[in-house]
C-alpha cells in the first residue's frame, strides 16, 4: 500500500490510482483500521464473538480471589436438580424446555423454561454445563493464542534479527518441536497436566504452540532488516533494542496478529479434540469437547446433548476465522476489497481489455 503512494511511477496502473485516492493522508494504522471496519464478515464475527464471550462468562459464577460474581443463570454446572420426565415425550428424560417458535406456528408459547438445553443423565442443567464448557474452551483458546504469539514473536524476532549461529540454534530448536505432531504433544501434556485444570493445560500447550509464528516472524525480520529504514535508524545511533521494537516490529505486526488469530481458532479445536480423547480437561470440570465425547452415543435419542456444545465450538471457531481473514485482508497491501462497486467495475473492464 505505502509503496503505491510512494511510487507515482506506478500510477499508470489503475489500481494504484484508486488506492491512493482512498488512502490519501492516512497513516498505516488508520488504513488498516479503516479496511478492517469495512470488512463486513469480520465485523459481524467480531460482534458475535464479543457477544458470545460476554454471554458465556456472565452466565456462570466467576471468582477472582475474594471477589465472587454469582452469574445470572439460576443453576450451577455441578448442581443436580430434578429430572424433567413428565414434560418429555417418548420416554426420554431431561429434554430441553427451550421453545423458540411462537404459538402461532406449533401451538406452544415461546419460552425458555426451566432447562432450556435439557439435562444430563443425573439431572445437571445442560445450559449451565455448556456455558461452563464454553468458558473453559474460550479461556484455553485465548491463553494458547497469546502465549504462542508472544513466544513465537520473541524467538522469531531474535532469530531473524541476529541471524548467524543464534538463528541456527533457534531454528533447529523450532524444528525440534515441530517434529512432534501437535496432537501427540498435546496428548502427552494433557494426559499429565489435564487434571491441574484448564488454565494449566492451556499454559503447557501454549509453551509448545509458538513454532509456526516464530518461523513467519523470522522470515519477516530477515526481509525487513535489510531495508533502508533500518540502516537509517542504525546510522542515527538507535540501539538494537530500539530497532527491533520501534522500527521492525511495527512492520511485522500484521503477520503476527493474523497468525495469532489462526492459532486461536486452531487452539479451540485442539482443546476440544484433546478433551474428546480424554487427554484434555477432565471431570468434574467440563469442556465442550468433553460434553460431545460423553454424549456422542446419545445422538439418536437425545440429540440436544450433542448439538449445543458442537454449535458453540463452531460459532466461536468460525468467528475467530472470519476475524483472522478480515485482519489478513486489512494488513495485506495488495487486497482490493473496500472499493466501491463502480471502482470494481472500472477495474474489471480495464483488466479484461
Amino acid at each position: 500500500m505505502s509503496d503505491d503512494v510512494k511510487q507515482p511511477a506506478d500510477s499508470a496502473d489503475m489500481k494504484s490510482d484508486i488506492f491512493s485516492k482512498e488512502t490519501e493522508g492516512l497513516s498505516q494504522a488508520q488504513i488498516v483500521r479503516k479496511r478492517f471496519f469495512q470488512h463486513k464478515a469480520a465485523m459481524t464475527s467480531l460482534f458475535v464473538l464479543l457477544g458470545i464471550i460476554f454471554f458465556v462468562f456472565s452466565a456462570q459464577s466467576i471468582s477472582l480471589g475474594p471477589v465472587k460474581y454469582p452469574g445470572w443463570w439460576k443453576y450451577d454446572y455441578e448442581q443436580i436438580s430434578d429430572l424433567r420426565i413428565a414434560e418429555c415425550s417418548g420416554g426420554v428424560v431431561g429434554c430441553p424446555s427451550l421453545d423458540v417458535f411462537p404459538s402461532s406456528i406449533d401451538g406452544t408459547p415461546m419460552q425458555i423454561g426451566e432447562h432450556p438445553f435439557g439435562q444430563d443423565d443425573i439431572g445437571r442443567d445442560y445450559f449451565a454445563m455448556v456455558m461452563r464448557g464454553a468458558q473453559r474452551s474460550l479461556l484455553v483458546m485465548v491463553i494458547i493464542g497469546t502465549l504462542g504469539a508472544a513466544l513465537g514473536t520473541v524467538i522469531g524476532a531474535i532469530a531473524g534479527f541476529f541471524r548467524g549461529w543464534v538463528d541456527a540454534i533457534l531454528m533447529r530448536f523450532t524444528d525440534f518441536i515441530i517434529t512432534v505432531p501437535t496432537i501427540v504433544l498435546g496428548s502427552v501434556i494433557g494426559y499429565h497436566f489435564g487434571n491441574l485444570g484448564a488454565v494449566f493445560l492451556a499454559f503447557f500447550l501454549g509453551i509448545f504452540a509458538w513454532t509456526g509464528i516464530s518461523r513467519l516472524v523470522r522470515g519477516e525480520f530477515l526481509k525487513l532488516r535489510e531495508l533502508e529504514f533500518v540502516d537509517a535508524a542504525r546510522v542515527a545511533g538507535a540501539s538494537t533494542r530500539r530497532i527491533i521494537f520501534k522500527h521492525i516490529l511495527p512492520n511485522a505486526v500484521g503477520v503476527i496478529i493474523v497468525s495469532a488469530t489462526l492459532l486461536m481458532s486452531g487452539a479451540i479445536l485442539l482443546e476440544t479434540g484433546l478433551s474428546y480423547l480424554g487427554f484434555g480437561v477432565v471431570p468434574p470440570d467440563v469442556s465442550l469437547g468433553l460434553l460431545i465425547s460423553n454424549y456422542q452415543d446419545a445422538f439418536t435419542v437425545r440429540p440436544w446433548l450433542f448439538w449445543w456444545p458442537g454449535l458453540f465450538i463452531i460459532a466461536v471457531a468460525l468467528c475467530v476465522n472470519f476475524i483472522g481473514d478480515g485482519l489478513r485482508d486489512a494488513f495485506d497491501p495488495r487486497q482490493r476489497r473496500g472499493m466501491s462497486r463502480k471502482d470494481k467495475a472500472s477495474l474489471a473492464s480495464g483488466e479484461s481489455k
Binding site: R172, F176, T179, P181, I183, S187, V188, N321, D325
Partner: protein
C-alpha cells in the same frame, strides 16, 4: 547438491536424537509405570513389580535407559531395528508394521480427494474472485475449518450410514429430493460457469435438468441396488473424458492431442468386453498393473501416430485420458459387484458401516468383493477427513493463484494474445502448484500421526489407536516407536519439500551458501 543433502540429513539425525531424548525423559518423568501395582491387593504383587522392573529395565534411570532403547533402534542401520517390546509382550516393530498400512489407507484417499477438490474449487474461486460463488465457498471453507472432526463424524454416522442404510431397504428417491438435489447442483454449476447472466442460466438449466433426468432414471430403473454402466454408456463416458481432458490440457482446437486422446478412448471402449472376462480371473493385481501398462503404451502409440511436435504434452493428455478411463472401468466393475454384495447374508442391505476397517464376517477370495468392502469401510472416515482437509487447500490455492495472476508475466502472456485457457493453465496454474506441491508433501507426513481422533471415532486400529494405548498404559517403548516413525516422516518430508521446491522453481537454489 549432495553436500546439501548430506548436511541436511546430518542435522535431521541430530534433531531426531535430541527430540527423542527430550520426549523419552519427559514421558518417563511425568508418570509411574508401576502405579497399577501400588494400589493392587494381589498377594503376588511383589513378584509382579519385580518382573515389570526387569522387563522395562526400570532399575536403570531414564536418562541412561534411553540409550538402551537407542541401541535397539540404531539396529536399523544393520537391518535389524529393535524398538523394544510392548508391556504385554509383543514387539513394537510388529505392531507398528500392522498399524501403519491401516493409517495410510485411512488418510490416503481422503488426502487425494481433498487435494483434487480443494485445488479445483480454489482455482475457480480465484478466477471468480468476489463473486457470489467465491463468497459462499469462502464461507464453506471457514465452516469446515471450524468443525471438530469428531462432531462431523457423529453426524455422518447418523445421516450417511444409518439413515442411508434404512433408505436402501426401500430404495425409492422421493420427488422432493430429486428437486432439491437438482436445484443444488444447478446452483453450483451455474455459479461456476456464471460470468454473465446468460452463462449462469445456461449452466443452471443444463446441469439441473441433467441431474433431474439422471435421478429419475436411476429411480425408475432400480439402479441403486443393481448399478452398472454398461458398454454403451461406458463408450460415451470414455469419449467425453477424452474431450474434457483435452479441453483442459491443450484445448480441443489442438488436433493432435484431440485425436490421440480420442483414439485412446476408442481403444478403451473396445477393451471393455475383454476386460470383463479378465476381471473374473483369480489374481487381479497383475491384471490391473498389466492394464495400466497397456493403457500407457496405447497412449504412446497414439501420440507417435498423431503428433510430430509437442509430443510431451500430447502424451500427457493421452495418458491422463487413459488413466481416467481405466478408473471408470474399475468403478463399473465395482458397481457390478455392489448388487450381490449388498444382498449377501453378511451385509443384509446395510452396506455403509459406522466402525471398523473391514467386515469380519466376509471371508472371500474375490478381489472385487474385498475391495468393495474396504472402500465402503473407508467411506465415512474419508468423507470426514476430506471435509476438514479440503478447506485449507481451497484457501491456499485461491490466495496463491490470485498472487500469481497479479504478476507481470501474466499480463505479458495475455498481451501476446494467448487465449485465457493457456494463460490460466500453463502460465498461472503451474506456478501456483509450486508452493502447493511442497505443502502436500509435508501434509502427507503429518497426517500419518494426525488422524488420531478420526481413528478413534471410527474404531480403526491404526497409529492413533496405538498411540492412545501407549499413553493410557504408560508404554514408553510403544510411544517412542510411534514418535520415531512420525518424526522421521515429518523431517524427511520437510527435506523432500525443500528439494522439490528447488527442482520446481529454478530461482530457488539449494546447496549454495546458507540453507
Amino acid at each position: 547438491m549432495f553436500g546439501f543433502i548430506a548436511r541436511r540429513i546430518g542435522v535431521l539425525i541430530v534433531i531426531l536424537f535430541g527430540s527423542s531424548y527430550l520426549l523419552y525423559n519427559l514421558q518417563a518423568l511425568s508418570g509411574d509405570p508401576l502405579a497399577d501395582f501400588r494400589t493392587s491387593r494381589d498377594p503376588e504383587v511383589e513378584s509382579q513389580i519385580k518382573a515389570t522392573i526387569e522387563q522395562l529395565r526400570l532399575d536403570v534411570p531414564a536418562p541412561l535407559r534411553y540409550f538402551i532403547w537407542l541401541r535397539g533402534v540404531l539396529g536399523i542401520f544393520v537391518g535389524q531395528p529393535d524398538f523394544g517390546k510392548v508391556r504385554t509382550g509383543e514387539p513394537v516393530g510388529e505392531l507398528l508394521m500392522d498399524a501403519i498400512p491401516v493409517t495410510i489407507r485411512l488418510v490416503f484417499g481422503a488426502t487425494i480427494i481433498a487435494i483434487l477438490l480443494g485445488i479445483t474449487i480454489g482455482v475457480v474461486t480465484a478466477l471468480r474472485q468476489y463473486s457470489r460463488f467465491d463468497y459462499s465457498m469462502t464461507f464453506v471453507a471457514f465452516l469446515m475449518f471450524s468443525l471438530p472432526i469428531f462432531w462431523v463424524a457423529v453426524l455422518l454416522k447418523e445421516f450417511m450410514a444409518i439413515q442411508f442404510n434404512n433408505f436402501l431397504s426401500e430404495p425409492n428417491i422421493p420427488t422432493t429430493w430429486i428437486i432439491g438435489i437438482s436445484a443444488f447442483i444447478a446452483l453450483f454449476f451455474g455459479a461456476i460457469l456464471g460470468r454473465s447472466r446468460r452463462t449462469f442460466w445456461i449452466g443452471f438449466l443444463a446441469s439441473g435438468l441433467f441431474t433431474a433426468v439422471l435421478l429419475t432414471l436411476i429411480d425408475a430403473r432400480g439402479w441403486i441396488l443393481e448399478p452398472g454402466i454398461g458398454p454403451v454408456i461406458f463408450a460415451l463416458l470414455a469419449l467425453l473424458t477424452a474431450f474434457g481432458v483435452t479441453q483442459i490440457s491443450m484445448g480441443v482446437g489442438h488436433k493432435p492431442s484431440l485425436y490421440a486422446s480420442l483414439s485412446v478412448a476408442v481403444a478403451g471402449a473396445i477393451s471393455y468386453f475383454p476386460m470383463q472376462s479378465l476381471f473374473k480371473r483369480e489374481s487381479q493385481v497383475p491384471v490391473l498393473l498389466g492394464g495400466l501398462v497397456v493403457a500407457l503404451i496405447v497412449a504412446g502409440i497414439a501420440t507417435v501416430a498423431f503428433a510430430r511436435i509437442d509430443r510431451g504434452p500430447v502424451y500427457r493428455t493421452a495418458s491422463i485420458t487413459a488413466f481416467i478411463i481405466g478408473i471408470i472401468m474399475i468403478v463399473d466393475k465395482l458397481m457390478q459387484t455392489w448388487g450381490p454384495y449388498v444382498s449377501s447374508g453378511e451385509v443384509q442391505y446395510r452396506p455403509v458401516p459406522t466402525i471398523g476397517e473391514r467386515n469380519p464376517l466376509i471371508e472371500t477370495n474375490d478381489f472385487w468383493v474385498a475391495l468393495l468392502d474396504t472402500l465402503l469401510h473407508m467411506f465415512l472416515p474419508t468423507i470426514a477427513l476430506t471435509l476438514i482437509g479440503f478447506a485449507g487447500y481451497v484457501r491456499y490455492t485461491r490466495g496463491t493463484l490470485l498472487d500469481v495472476l497479479n504478476q507481470d508475466y501474466i499480463r505479458t502472456a495475455r498481451a501476446k494474445g494467448l487465449n485465457e485457457r493457456t494463460v490460466i493453465m500453463r502460465h498461472a496454474f503451474r506456478n501456483t502448484m509450486i508452493p502447493i506441491v511442497t505443502l502436500l508433501v509435508v501434509d502427507f507426513a503429518s497426517v500419518v500421526g494426525g488422524a488420531l481422533i478420526t481413528e478413534n471415532v471410527f474404531a480403526w486400529r491404526g497409529m492413533g489407536t496405538l498411540f492412545r494405548q501407549a499413553i493410557g498404559t504408560f508404554d514408553l517403548n510403544l510411544l517412542m516407536g510411534i514418535f520415531f516413525v512420525t518424526a522421521t516422516l515429518a523431517l524427511v518430508a520437510n527435506l523432500v519439500a525443500d528439494l522439490l521446491y528447488s527442482a520446481l522453481d529454478p530461482r530457488v537454489r539449494v546447496g549454495s551458501g546458507k540453507s
